[in-house]
Amino acid sequence: MGKLYTFLKYFFITIWTVFVVAPFLWALTTSFKDFNSVNGGVTYIPGLILNQTLKVGGF
């Protein structure tokens, strides 16, 4: 009971932390992008287009 509760507690806190922080991180990375990077597709780190490598062959 104790261990399960502790696991669930930290799991829920982690999920909520990600949910709280996500829009701020998105805003932060967007603040480093130029106009074309913002409107040309999804990039997570300015200058590094991750989604293109993830979607190779996914036509």
Partner: protein, 286 residues
């Protein structure tokens, strides 16, 4: 000491109260009895606006029921999540102070700006949510599907205002007396029983206050809807306040918008009083 002049000192406060609270309400009532638009003045037309509202405007009532659904859903979610989070960081955990501050941050931000960020977050082709879900073959239309758009509004509202619930409930938990918990521990109560029979009943008055405050605030959802979906697609996320805004400040039907505002105010006062009484009866049995 019979100091009759003391009433003079009440005048500044009374004057401010009349100016900022009573006068606008009286003016709205007078405005609602007029056909004031951008062409004619404050002409008296009797109950015409109210008759139109109750017999010939289903859009207002649809927006009202939509608002009721959105506000009740968001407040219930905020309460459950806020209580869970408060309960988790109430007792000693790692990085307790860090989490207590982190969970409050969304509440400190400007709703309009954060909603703009959420709009780009849920953007169908430029947002990260659909980009990640796209790897699993999913591309939900967060802002253009009528059902999902409501869900998106709920997500943003829950993100923004759960910290408020968390703050009130954490303050309540921290102010609880220790004796009932010691008595429960001596009796060998399990953590679940402690929560059901000690923590929850002791938190009931604070819970009622927090729920009522949030219901009052949630019943005025306007900025989130305006920025995120503008009431769309169609009218699927249009709330009463947004519809009143459209009628009053886009179509300049000031008289009709005033009649809707006043009706909305009366409904909200009655429904919130009933909700407060029901919650008090349910949660405060003794």
């Amino acid at each position: 000491m019979n100091f009759k002049h003391k009433y003079i000192f009440l005048f500044p406060g009374l004057f401010v109260l009349i100016g900022i609270l009573i006068f606008p309400i009286i003016f709205v009532v007078r405005l609602s009895l007029s056909g004031w638009n951008s062409y004619n003045g404050l002409n008296f037309i009797g109950l015409e606006n109210y008759i139109r509202l109750f017999t010939d405007d289903p859009r207002f009532w649809e927006s009202f029921f939509r608002l009721s659904f959105l506000s009740v859903t968001t407040v219930v979610l905020q309460y459950v999540i806020g209580f869970a989070l408060a309960h988790m960081v109430w007792k000693e955990i790692k990085f307790q102070r860090f989490f207590r501050v982190l969970f409050l941050i969304p509440m400190m931000t400007t709703p309009v700006i954060m909603t703009v960020i959420w709009r780009t977050f849920f953007h169908e082709s430029l947002g990260p949510v659909n980009d990640i879900l796209g790897n699993f073959g999913l591309s939900p239309k967060w802002l253009t599907d009528p059902t999902l758009a409501k869900f998106t509004v709920i997500i943003v509202e829950v993100w923004q205002w759960t910290p408020f619930m968390f703050l009130l409930l954490l303050a309540g938990l921290l102010s609880l007396p220790k004796e009932p918990f010691l008595a429960a521990a001596i009796d060998g109560a399990s953590p679940v029983r402690k929560f059901i029979y000690v923590t929850f009943p002791l938190m009931a008055p604070i819970s009622i206050g927090a729920i009522i405050i949030r219901l009052i605030e949630a019943s005025k959802i306007m900025d989130t809807v305006y920025v995120l979906t503008s009431g769309g697609p169609g009218t699927s996320t249009e709330t009463s306040s947004f519809y009143i805004f459209i009628k009053g400040l886009r179509e300049f039907q000031m008289g009709y918008a005033a009649s809707m505002s006043f009706t909305y105010l009366i409904i909200m006062i009655i429904s919130l009083t009933v909700i407060a009484k029901v919650l008090t009866k349910l949660l405060l049995k003794d």
